[in-house]
Amino acid sequence: MGKIEWAMWANEQALASGLILLTGGIVGVAGQFRGWQFAAYAVAAGVFVCLLEYPRSKRAKGTSVERTGQYCFTVCVKAFGPLTRNYYVRAFLHAAICVPGGFMLATVLGCVCLGIASLIYLAAAIRGEHWEPILPRKEIRKPVGESIKNPPQNPPPRPPPEMRRKQAGDLEKSAYDNPMSVTDDE
């Protein structure tokens, strides 16, 4: 259990909780249940949580797979700097957001799930993780060597004739040094 990245799990949980909160809020508002104002708040809170949690963080070790179309969200979330980088902030933010959802029946499930996600974010923050944006890598083109423009004029040097004469007899001994690199091309 040593090297688990809790933030990735917390991110999935928080995104799902945001969706549940949103759905519960829509149901509460549509049915005009008692306390539908909480449901309206839950709709807004759900949308906010989904937008915040949609861009995945870059993993500390290993390949990071980003969600489809997350680049613009990454840019927005990155713009807030340390507020979104730090997981303590996220943990307390989610804990604060989820509380009003607990007052209405339709949104109570989203509230509890978001509370669990906030606890996992707290665990991630204690272990020192932080959010890193996944940005597209700039390709560094390898500078083409100068030698490609000047092909060699002379053939590669060959060993003295007495080594060459032994080719028929012994395959092993007739191998010789090739100072120029010979690459295989398919």
């Binding site: 259990m1 040593g2 090297k3 688990i4 990245e5 809790w6 990735m8 799990w9 999935e12 949980q13 799902a16 149901v27 249940f33 995945r56 993993r59 290993g62 797979v65 029946l105 339709a106 109570v108 499930l109 509890v112 799930c113 669990i116 390709e139 060993p159 191998a175 010789y176 040094d177 090739n178 690199s181 010979v182 690459t183 295989d184 398919e186």
Partner: protein, 605 residues
């Protein structure tokens, strides 16, 4: 190119049939429960109070009962392996269905989640209606204590409510942590949360205690909708009824209600007991620690481990679960066997690639770094191997290689391990199988990886050449990252310098094997075996092309007349997740291709 209907039916028909059967059973259960509560006389009053929410919640509950019981069955691995190995299931097609065990488990799990959402929503509406439509006529029917009781209070003070909330939370945790990215990145989170299923089942069996929904027991004496003499109920029709009808519909007695007998345990207890028995059996089997015989270090971070275990029988292509309490008490890691015990040699061997923290720690325990300050003692005295427990063996689709005429085995990186066992079995005796030709395609990132099984490939190749079957075993080796080849590796000592590739070829002693660089998936699939398979296949009439792994659809398009061809694809990316169940590999050579320098990666799907 369109795949012919006959070949599609032969290859894909079985699993689609099972899928349709499962969907059909679920639909039938849903509809019959729905209609029972919609039209049943004993639920008339309850339906009047709760409306459609009652029908939907009960219908989804019966579907949930079925799926909660079915979801456990594919996870009884010993049972599945036993069924796969017995001769009672002699048809290849039926055995192929067993490859899809994990997919079936996932399908049942997803169904549980969807119907749970439906069940919870319907019950939330029911709770609100219990509170709002509190019935004064039939007080026994009510769940709320008074009209207008807060629904949240109703949920939190009744057993079905509290257990329901807990069940939903556990299900939520299990579902989210079994998503693809969490499984791939942090398998432990998935594994530990998924083991909460025991808590889930215990709470599930207590969920119906308390009897929130009641049915009427005396329907004959008190037909629903009948009149009571001294009662003005708002539920009755109205004043238009004749007195004669009133006479007929007079109730002889009051309605009696009784809660349901909990049914869930009837559905769930059977598979749960079976699963527990199987786990107990596996625990008993794996109680003896194995004796580690040798530990060999191979290039590219691979360690071979050879062990001895009493009464251990395995077939080529099976895998084991390794548990090392010195590293972690609860983690079991699957590794495919590369050497099965035979009559001559009883050792079992695995090749494990050091990728994550468990394998790193395990390798450190097996091969401790020699400390400089200690005296140089013979290694045999110094080395103390950790205690290792082996659970298994469990089967996989690669057991079927021998049951087809032509088999194409494609392996990526460390995914070659199932085929290593197959090749060893062929080395022992290749004549007893149905297999007539084996095409072996191995794609690796680096050239040194081929050293893992260089001797085995060579030995088999030579044996078959000597026994006059040169066409039996065809090998194609590919490298996907040729830039990592070091050209001048050893300093020129005697004026001699070979490239890595030449060194490997010399050690393989076969210059007839061409090692191709920069493998492209299409290239691999096009060159090797397809044309040969096609030429061979025209002789056979019945079709049994089996595609295990991704890119299957692409590959199937290329085979015009697939008959009796077995194709197995294993990639390095899924070694951790499920080595024996490679049917769900999401990437094959694309994984290897992505690691290479090419920026455009064409998907072979």
């Amino acid at each position: 190119m369109v795949v012919s209907v006959r070949s599609w039916v032969a290859n894909e028909g079985g699993k689609h049939f099972v899928l349709i059967l499962w969907l059909g059973v679920n639909t039938w259960l849903f509809i019959s429960s729905f209609l029972l509560y919609f039209t049943g006389q004993e639920y008339h009053y309850l339906y009047k109070m709760l409306g459609l929410g009652l029908c939907i919640s009960r219908a989804s509950a019966s579907v949930l009962n079925l799926n909660c019981s079915l979801v456990l069955l594919p996870m009884c691995r010993s049972l599945v392996t036993f069924v796969r190995g017995t001769r009672t299931i002699s048809s290849r097609k039926t055995r192929r269905l067993l490859d899809k065990c994990k997919t079936f488990h996932v399908a049942c799990g997803v169904a549980i989640c969807i119907f749970s959402v439906m069940h919870v929503s319907a019950h939330l509406v029911n709770v609100v209606r219990f509170s709002v439509r509190y019935s004064d006529d039939f007080p026994a029917l009510n769940l709320a204590r008074y009209r207008g009781e807060d629904p949240m209070l109703i949920i939190l003070t009744t057993i079905p409510g509290v257990t329901g909330v807990l069940l939903v939370l556990i299900l939520f945790l299990m579902f989210i942590s079994s998503s693809y990215c969490v499984r791939m990145s942090n398998y432990e989170i998935f594994w530990y949360t998924h083991n909460l299923f025991i808590v889930f089942y215990v709470i599930l069996m207590m969920h119906m205690v308390g009897g929130a929904l009641k049915y009427q027991t005396n329907v004959e004496a008190h037909p629903p909708g009948c009149f009571r003499a001294n009662q003005s109920s708002t539920e009755q029709q109205g004043d238009e009824l004749d007195t004669s009808e009133e006479e007929e519909r007079r109730c002889s007695e009051d309605a009696h209600f009784q809660p349901h007998y909990p049914q869930t345990w009837l559905w769930v207890s059977g598979p749960l007991c079976l699963y527990c028995v199987e786990r107990f059996y596996r625990y008993i089997q794996s109680r003896d620690p194995v004796t580690i015989v040798t530990v060999i270090r191979h290039p590219c971070d691979v360690v071979e481990l050879r062990m001895l275990k009493k009464n251990f029988k395995a077939r080529p292509g099976q895998y084991i679960l390794l548990n090392c309490p010195g590293v972690s008490s609860f983690e079991n890691h699957p590794f495919t066997l590369t050497m099965c015990p035979t009559e001559n040699k009883e050792t079992l061997g695995i090749h494990l690639r050091v990728v994550g923290d468990w394998t790193e720690r395990f390798t450190q325990l097996l091969l401790p770094e020699p400390r400089i300050d200690m005296e140089i003692l013979p290694m045999a005295q110094q080395r103390r191997y950790p205690k290792v427990y082996v659970d298994g063996p469990f089967g996989g689709p690669s057991e079927e290689v021998f049951n087809y005429d032509v088999s194409l085995c494609v392996a990526g990186g460390i995914g070659v391990t199932p085929f290593a066992c197959v090749l060893r079995a062929l080395l022992d005796g290749w004549m007893g199988f149905r297999l007539q030709r084996l095409y072996f395609v191995w794609v690796c990132k680096e050239l040194q990886s081929f050293y893992w099984f260089a001797e085995l490939l060579c030995a088999l190749h030579h044996k078959l050449w000597n026994e006059n079957r040169p066409d039996y075993f065809n090998v194609k080796l590919y490298i996907s990252q040729p830039d990592s080849l070091q050209i001048l590796r050893t300093p020129p000592t005697r004026g001699r310098c070979f490239t890595d590739r030449e060194k490997l070829q010399r050690s393989l002693k076969c210059s007839c094997w061409h090692i191709t660089l920069r493998a492209q998936p299409q290239h691999v699939f096009q060159t090797v075996p397809l044309k040969a398979c096609l030429r061979r296949s025209t002789a056979h009439s019945h079709q049994g092309c089996r595609l295990v792994g991704p890119g299957g659809s692409y590959f199937l398009m290329k085979l015009e007349n697939p008959t009796n061809i077995n194709v197995l694809v294993f990639s390095a990316a899924h070694r951790r997740a499920s080595p024996g169940l490679s049917t769900d590999c999401a990437t094959h050579l694309n994984t290897v291709e992505q690691h290479s320098n090419s920026t455009k990666s064409r998907s072979a799907d």
